[in-house]
Amino acid sequence: MLDELYKEIILDHYKSPRNRGKASKVDFHAHGVNPLCGDDIELTLTVDRDIIEEVKFDGHGCSISQASASILTETLVGLTLDQAHTKIEHVKSLFKGNDIVTEDLGDIEALQGVRKFPVRIKCATLAWNALQLSLQNSATGQSTAYSDE
């Protein structure tokens, strides 16, 4: 049972996070906190003519939240903002167990184990929710951190 949550890929992302740090040029900034767990994630994006060129993350939290952020950075790079939007929606509903997988999801697939651990879904979705809010806010000109409780 535990192995379903802590798949090799997850532990690997946790121990060797990809794209940790801050983007060279910050066009988008997202901040997500889960006050309940103390998880805290900062995402910074460089966007060039609507295309995401670079995504970095920083912060601390449990293995699931950190691995998920690490996977996010790899997943979204190269997408347009619109594509990123769609992707985020899709990934979130995968975590919640609402959607069926029809495509190759790469490392995201490994995160699907959280479905069986309802309290950990929030950990997995934190980075995705934070970025989604940031993208929406930038459309409306607001600026608030995503907070999950």
């Binding site: 535990l2 802590y6 006050p35 767990c37 103390g38």
Partner: protein, 422 residues
Amino acid sequence: MDSHKSIQNLSIPELDVDAVRKDFPILQTTIHDKPLIYLDNAASSQKPEFVIKTINNYYSYEHSNVHRGIHHLSQQATQQYEQAREKVANFIGANHSHEIIWTRGTTEAINLVAYSWGQNNLKQGDVIIISTCEHHSNIVPWQLICELTGATLRHLPLDSHDKSFNLNKLAEMLTPNTRMIALTHMSNVLGTITDLSKVVELARHNGSLVLADGAQSVPHIPVNVAELGIDFLAFSGHKMLGPTGIGCLYGREELLEDMPPYQGGGDMIETVTMSQSTWNQLPYKFEAGTPNIAGAIGLGAAVDYLEHLGMESVRAHSHKLNSYAISALSEIDQISIYGPRNPSVRGGVFSFNHADIHPHDLGQVLDSKGVAIRAGHHCAQPLMAELGVGSTARASFYIYNTQSEIDELCAAIKSAGEFFSK
């Protein structure tokens, strides 16, 4: 102090833990096919058969609304309900049973005092003192009433070394404007026990009142409000073998007499006309509406059970487990324990962190082995900030826990360490 304790303990009957364990149906169950090792007692305790049966019996054969009924069931329910109040009053050494107000729990009890007492007694310039290691229940109500009245909330910082209360510092902070010192009697994160008699002594000098948050102390150590000299004590039934949804506020009679009601409704009034109402006597003034009757009676049964064991024995058992836990946990290199190492100044609440594993992950791995601990901020975010962490893992013990369960805890932590370094 420690050696003095062990001499004293000679005359205290030891808990028969095997017998105690048999009284708790849930301890006979398994989690993920492993025997349940329940170490989340600071969040809520389990319930003995005796308490469960009392509630069962009440609902099956004795239920009715209380106070206003002339029929047999109502009289009987009223009698049991008021007897429970007397049991609780005795248990904490109150002078009168009408000094016991039933509430939903510690949180509501503190809200009641903050609002009802605060509304009448606080004004701009007045000061309330709490500490950095309070539970949110003993922070937020004071923030709310300070905002309403213009009073100021100050916090007593913890000793930077061992995170205990610094009573010298408290003495310095006190001024004639200090109206209330509201402190936890036992920290739900660090386990530290507060020397309330000393706090009361300091408070008396300045005319301040003292409220103790007894959520963690009343279930685990003998507490006597008259001996301690405190003005208010708040605690919860569900942490002391009792049902959920019931707790108590103890308040000194003169103080409660002077306080306006908290909620309005049935039972708390004497007369109601459309234009005004007059209030009932204590304790009913503070108990609007149909109370948690089964909850109160169930808590009475929990008190019976604890008194049957003897609170000195309960404390001695905790002392023994604490000593054992401190050495056992200290043997794991990656673990750092927060809070005092002297088992005589602490209760059985152990917060710790693992160098390589986030508390959530640790909790998850332990759960898979049947070991239930808590991971998070434990409703003490300011203390987390002070400790410089986002969250901690927490194991907390009670009368049914054993040294071999602590061994299992340590083994599970070690195996989690291996899992995350594999």
